[in-house]
């Protein structure tokens, strides 16, 4: 089973990289981009075949390592 984790900065946390990307898009002539947020995607190959257990394990991985929950939020998707 594969899991895909999306990690994003929480709403309200300024994202300097996203802002730089937004600025660069404006420079290239793309108008109307009002905000850009940059995050990461982490894909995991899991031995677990039970979806419930897999989701629980990956959630714990997010809490302990994959996301810094002070500034980041995460979502887990099984694929």
């Amino acid at each position: 089973m594969k899991a895909r984790v999306h990690v994003m900065l929480k709403d309200g946390v300024l994202d300097p990289q996203g802002e730089a990307v937004r600025h660069a898009l404006g420079t290239l002539g793309f108008e109307g981009v009002e905000g850009v947020r940059q995050g990461k995607v982490i894909e995991l190959d899991l031995a677990e075949s039970d979806a419930g257990k897999a989701k629980e394990a990956v959630t714990e991985m997010c809490e302990k390592l994959l996301a810094n929950t002070v500034i980041e939020s995460y979502s887990v998707e099984l694929v």
Binding site: L14, P16, Q17, A20, K64, L66, N68, V70
Partner: protein, 222 residues
């Protein structure tokens, strides 16, 4: 007076930090990240700057889950001294020993220059050698030094007098100009600037030396 300087793959300020500790009279052990215990009698754990584990995932994230770091957390919980500089500060926020987080500099660029800091409290073993309000010149060299804290956290840090240093001119977008913070028991300090790089005349200044001297004094009297 025993200091343990941690070494992770990618640490690059470990030797400078060891020299600064030794010059203040401490006995220094270099401790590899795979060790799971600190040398017997360690008073101070010093976590150096650099790019531990290549800054993979997040700065300091992997180092914060290393075997030695578990021993550092226990040392801190027993009331031991811990000093984290630059990447060491990032490691300390990742462990949760210090609150807040360090994000990419607001201006995106890596900043490498000597800046003026303002000493916000002299009430700690790290800052006892300075006067409150004193300006000291200390170099910074970081890409992710933008200290991020909620309004509530900043209010708490202020109430508890736990902001150790602020930048005279904010270089990186840090909340409330914060350059260094103390733990609740005032025995853990994390700071982005590098006092070990301004600790002897050959460095072009000695404003950082007082930190290592006052730490050594505190360790000697403990």
């Amino acid at each position: 007076m025993k200091a343990a300087v941690l070494v992770f793959p990618g640490s690059n300020c470990d030797r400078d930090l060891a020299v600064a500790c030794r010059n203040a009279g401490m006995q220094v052990n270099m401790v590899w990240h795979k060790d799971s215990t600190l040398p017997e009698g360690t008073d101070l754990v010093a976590i150096p700057g650099g790019f531990s584990f290549g800054d993979y995932l997040r700065c300091g994230a992997i180092a914060a889950r290393s075997p030695i770091t578990r021993a550092v957390i226990e040392h801190a919980n027993r009331g031991g001294f811990v000093l984290g500089i630059c990447n060491g500060f990032q490691v300390l926020t990742e462990t949760g020993l210090l609150p807040g987080a360090l994000m990419r500099n607001a201006g995106i660029k890596f900043i490498c220059k000597t800046l003026d800091l303002i000493v916000e409290t002299s009430d700690s073993a790290f800052t006892a050698g300075y006067r409150k309000g004193q300006r000291i010149a200390i170099p910074v060299a970081h890409h992710d030094g933008n200290y991020t804290a909620s309004d509530d956290l900043v209010a708490r840090l202020r109430d508890e007098d736990r902001i150790a240093f602020t930048y005279a001119e904010n270089p990186n977008g840090s909340t409330a100009d914060i350059a260094g913070v103390l733990s609740e028991n005032r025995r853990v300090l994390g700071m982005m600037p590098h006092p070990e790089r301004m600790a002897e005349a050959a460095h072009g200044g000695t404003d950082g030396a007082a930190m290592f001297r006052s730490l050594a004094d505190a360790m000697a009297s403990a």
